[in-house]
């Protein structure tokens, strides 16, 4: 079915990435600009796969310090306690609010990890030209883009805990370096998912493989 699909690319047509208008490429080498909105036309996002790999690898690298370094440091009466993301989950669980512990575990640990693995799988499937299961991979790409923002949860937890708990000298909470790496993981995975053009999941031979 996918081998014979009539796509815009096969007809020398391009749908505008900004407004969706179907336009004819100005020339084979130069796609030109959208007549309706003026955006530059691309058959596929330029350098989609390379950008997506680079952002995904950078996110995977940041994921390690994000989990090892503390996101918050609590100073109470002279002693300071560092608090990592998984430490925060354990704290919520032991203080009896296991539903919140589960939410934070899913949003802060499982979603970023799942996103990194999913992006890797999608990019490998495109590189290898794996046939069959395109709909499932398309669904995976949609899920990755939809749940991405929820991993920002722990950044907000840290921000509002720090903003509120400033009761010197009794108790104060400071942000740790982990929160910066964690924010980087979230932003980089969101950008990686955004730069992966979903049409590449379906492309077979209509686009010259090395020219994008």
């Amino acid at each position: 079915m996918t081998g014979t699909a009539l796509t815009a690319a096969r007809q020398g047509l391009i749908s505008c990435g900004a407004c969706g208008l179907l336009a004819r490429a100005a020339a084979p080498a130069e796609a030109g600009f959208c007549p309706r909105c003026g955006a530059r036309l691309h058959r596929r996002h330029p350098d989609s796969i390379q950008q997506s790999w680079a952002l995904g690898v950078a996110a995977a690298v940041c994921f390690i310090p994000a989990n090892v370094l503390p996101v918050m440091v609590t100073d109470a009466l002279g002693s300071s306690t560092p608090d990592t993301i998984l430490g925060g989950v354990a704290f919520l669980y032991s203080s009896g609010s296991w539903p919140l512990a589960l939410i934070v575990l899913v949003a802060s640990f499982m979603i970023p990890l799942g996103k990194l693995l999913s992006m890797g799988w999608l990019l490998i499937a495109i590189r290898r030209g794996i046939r069959g299961g395109e709909r499932q991979r398309m669904r995976l790409h949609r899920i990755v883009r939809a749940v991405g923002p929820w991993s920002m949860l722990d950044v907000f937890v840290a921000t509002f805990t720090v903003a509120l708990v400033q009761l010197d000298p009794l108790m104060s909470v400071e942000p740790g370096l982990g929160v910066l790496f964690f924010a980087a993981v979230v932003v980089l995975t969101m950008l990686a998912a955004e730069s992966l053009d979903p049409r590449l999941l379906w492309d077979r031979d209509e686009i010259e493989p090395r020219h994008d």
Partner: protein, 227 residues
């Protein structure tokens, strides 16, 4: 049931590039790509007035949520309170300027820009023909929406409240309830505001000068792609 939305006849699916003739879609219904399942059209019943009312209400609620305290904390005779911007400023002063900027973008700048752009846009396209600059606003609104995360922020605040409640007594403020109301209005806006319907109203010149050196304008292909 009888009212239909007619749009450019032939389109390429943004998800998989499949060329297809889009049939007239009944208002309130959705058309999906048969190959990849991407939503191709979802014309709302009332494309302008209803989202405009929701966007104006959301903008007012957003102002209240920004200006009033989210929550206050008291312990052994000391009390503290914070607003949304106050949270970002505290991160900044604690040596985390990048995280502070990200929080400010996702909670204040992007939602504020999104609501401003949507209100302006809907007022501009109320009477056809829509001005050509409406397209630029529509594109900006899409970016602003992608980075506005008030729902994630609200959940983050609730988790922070539970964590702190062990140490001190915490009272929710007006800002917290306003944020809750804002989420409901934004959810309504998301279902009634359809960028595709607005694009169909944007006027565009059929003859235009090329915009870049060596590049000629692509030709609209909606009517010529039929086999």
């Amino acid at each position: 049931m009888a009212r239909m939305h007619q749009t450019a006849d032939i389109i390429a699916c943004p998800g998989c590039d499949l060329l297809q003739r889009l049939p007239p879609v009944p208002l309130g219904a959705r058309a999906r790509c048969p190959r990849c399942g991407e939503i191709l059209a979802a014309p709302p019943m009332d494309p302008i007035e209803r989202p405009l009312a929701l966007a104006v209400a959301a903008a007012i609620t957003f102002g209240v949520a920004q200006a009033t305290p989210l929550m206050s904390l008291s312990a052994v005779g000391r009390s503290a309170q914070t607003t949304i911007i106050g949270g970002a400023l505290e991160m900044w002063s604690q040596g985390q300027p990048i995280t502070a900027a990200l929080v400010l973008i996702c909670t204040t700048l992007a939602p504020g820009a999104y609501l401003t752009l949507v209100c302006t846009l809907l007022l501009a396209v109320r009477r056809p023909p829509a001005p050509s600059w409406a397209g630029a606003l529509l594109r900006l609104a899409g970016h602003a929406r992608a980075w506005s995360l008030p729902e994630v922020m609200l959940l983050g605040i609730l988790v922070a409240l539970v964590k702190i409640a062990d140490l001190a007594s915490v009272d929710p403020g007006v800002g917290l309830f306003a944020t809750g109301a804002l989420l409901a209005l934004l959810a309504g806006l998301a279902t009634s505001f359809d960028p595709r319907t607005i694009w169909d109203r944007v006027a565009w010149p059929t003859q235009d000068t090329p915009r870049g050196p060596g590049a000629s304008l692509a030709e609209h292909a909606g009517g010529t792609a039929a086999r």
